[in-house]
Symmetry: C2
Subunit: 194 residues, 2 copies
Amino acid sequence: MIKYPTKKSTYQRQKTSVKNRGMNFEALIDETNTFYRFQKRAVIYKKPIPIQIVKVDYPDRQHAKIKEAYYKTPSTTDYNGIYKGYYIDFDVKETKNKTAFPLKNIHTHQIEHLRAIDEAGGIAFLLIRFVVHNTVHLLPIDALNNFLERAKTGRQSFTYQELVSTGLEVNEGYRPTFDYLSAVDTMIKTIKNL
Amino acid sequence: MIKYPTKKSTYQRQKTSVKNRGMNFEALIDETNTFYRFQKRAVIYKKPIPIQIVKVDYPDRQHAKIKEAYYKTPSTTDYNGIYKGYYIDFDVKETKNKTAFPLKNIHTHQIEHLRAIDEAGGIAFLLIRFVVHNTVHLLPIDALNNFLERAKTGRQSFTYQELVSTGLEVNEGYRPTFDYLSAVDTMIKTIKNL
């Protein structure tokens, strides 16, 4: 159980943080989600990795040991939940590339799932971290769709500058680490015409 | 990939079906969800079982074999998704008991999660199957809360008759097998005052 400070004075904003540079991006988003749940701001979880279990040993009732299993291809994205009554669905991506994000890093099942969620009235997007620039951006599904449409005849990636101009920047802070829900607020205002 | 018939004439309603009696309830709900996605009526999935992976063999890049892993306690319920723009969250329960459903069959993390979803504006419930009666009922979180409140000083279960009167019956049919979204419609009308 993570203990969160209750005093506001302990909150400190770091415009360009060095501490999180080496850390796994998914772990930082998990940390952010735990904080959001603690604040009762949103209930968002990462889904477990789907596994095909083949062989299990039961030395006793309480302790099952899985002896043979395989990774399965997921049907959906990794994260979903509820925020301000909206169904939220996204995946998390990271690149060490400096100038562009290759579209092949986004799998077909992820694109299809995000489109289905968007059609059903949910909030669908990607969170993309450019390690070199140490920035995180929210890319809404409609902007992703435009890049995928262009890729049918043109370039198989979008540039960092395109992400900066079409995505929504996610600020890095102390708690939460990446306040992506503030970017979601902007996205909701736009797509729900609020 | 399941092939669904497109002709309406192949649809047949079975008021009291025998075919599904021996089948795993979760598998029948999974089948129902696949059909709902096919119809574009809702996007609802079962979450994978959370596993703690300890040892993996990589004979080659494509074929990772998990050699040691353990079941983890889930933090949430098994099912969630989006329907009519609402965030939907539920768990599935089955009992061979004839007269009552023991509350101990509902785990603390499931109750806490369903309450958090309800507070956040989502649609939270249980789907309960009484095998002996061959019936399925949707129990909304507020009705469950009442039974849990009573259990603090009184009985540690609710009766089948109480479930019949406070829950919403789910009809069994051909496709979908258990049309629980029709019961969700009634629940939405009630809690959203529509």
